[in-house]
Symmetry: C2
Subunit: 236 residues, 2 copies
Amino acid sequence: MAETEIKKSSHVEQHFMASDLIRDIVIGMSDGLTVPFALAAGLSGSISNASLVVVAGVAEIAAGSIAMGLGGYLAARTDEEHYASELERERREIVELPDREREEVAAILREWNIPESAINETVDAMSKDPEKWVDFMMKYELGLEKPEPKRAITSSATIGVSYIVGGLIPLSPYMIFSNANSALLVSVIMTIIALFIFGFVKGRFTGSKPFKSAFQTTLVGGLAAGIAFLIARLIS
Amino acid sequence: MAETEIKKSSHVEQHFMASDLIRDIVIGMSDGLTVPFALAAGLSGSISNASLVVVAGVAEIAAGSIAMGLGGYLAARTDEEHYASELERERREIVELPDREREEVAAILREWNIPESAINETVDAMSKDPEKWVDFMMKYELGLEKPEPKRAITSSATIGVSYIVGGLIPLSPYMIFSNANSALLVSVIMTIIALFIFGFVKGRFTGSKPFKSAFQTTLVGGLAAGIAFLIARLIS
């Protein structure tokens, strides 16, 4: 049993790790493929000089990747600090207010119709094992999972780099063609293909239907670009 | 006891609702205040005509709010579908593989150090209450919480509108001044104040230290804008 449990939990852990990485790539690349594409398309509606579109696009990619990457880093750090401060509070509470904490454990167990005598026995056993007790409160009272220590850095870097990679795809035609309208056509074709492939792969990794995910991703990118194009043409 | 439990769970629910709304505003406004600000600042480094900066900024706000809002909507819908399909699978499994599912419940209870005799009793009671059984599996085996039904729409709208509101603050000076460099100065001052206030309020709501949060938020916005400005000036 113990071995099965270890295997199971290490499997769960791996699954969790993988989906965190995938989630970060998805977060960065979804926006990276969409916003610079839509901005470049929007500007092409009112500027014919492709090099100006490149300046705006590169400025946007720099700003977006820093905002998302650094923002993601700080959010993960905040989660870590939140976990640490709640952990310290629970540790203090089981010493200072043991009766209330015992009642909180009992209340959680009671929800699952566990017999009252067994609840008392479990709470007694738990109050002799403070680490397990605190662990139980963190997980089931507060619903907090221990954050991974290096998560903040990797998450930040993954989101930022994915944004840059995603953003350079729609922007590259504007670096080659001098006329923004010619570049726009190539950019639209390239980006629709990229959005479709990305949505498909994302669907496979996240467990939704790949073709549905591909269509949805392409729709978001296309709508954003179409509306940005119309608005830019209207106000310029 | 039952009343305390109801009160407690409705309190938790409210807390959860509030932090979801706050989280959505924070997500939208963090990026809204940062990216259009940085883009406009970056373009001011190479374009002197403020109205072109406005076109680019508005196109970016349109694209960003659609990408974030619609993207958020589809992500929430995917969560709902994922929950529904897992729920259906658990419902099927307790009928088709009751022994394996009973053992899964027992394994979770065993981790909590509940006495073996009580585990059997609890598993027996649970297998007579299929809804409770499925509920237990969803929560503790899969770690999934039931998504709120209207969450997808509200979340999407909140993120999108927050992005637009955030983005119009740094952009408004460019709508008033015709020279991009004069507008830049006003935009920098206004946005630094807005980022600081926003970071402070965000810190209060999310439970981190308000001044620390204010400095961090201002730092991300300032860094993104500074680097976008330098890159745009270098490549133009």
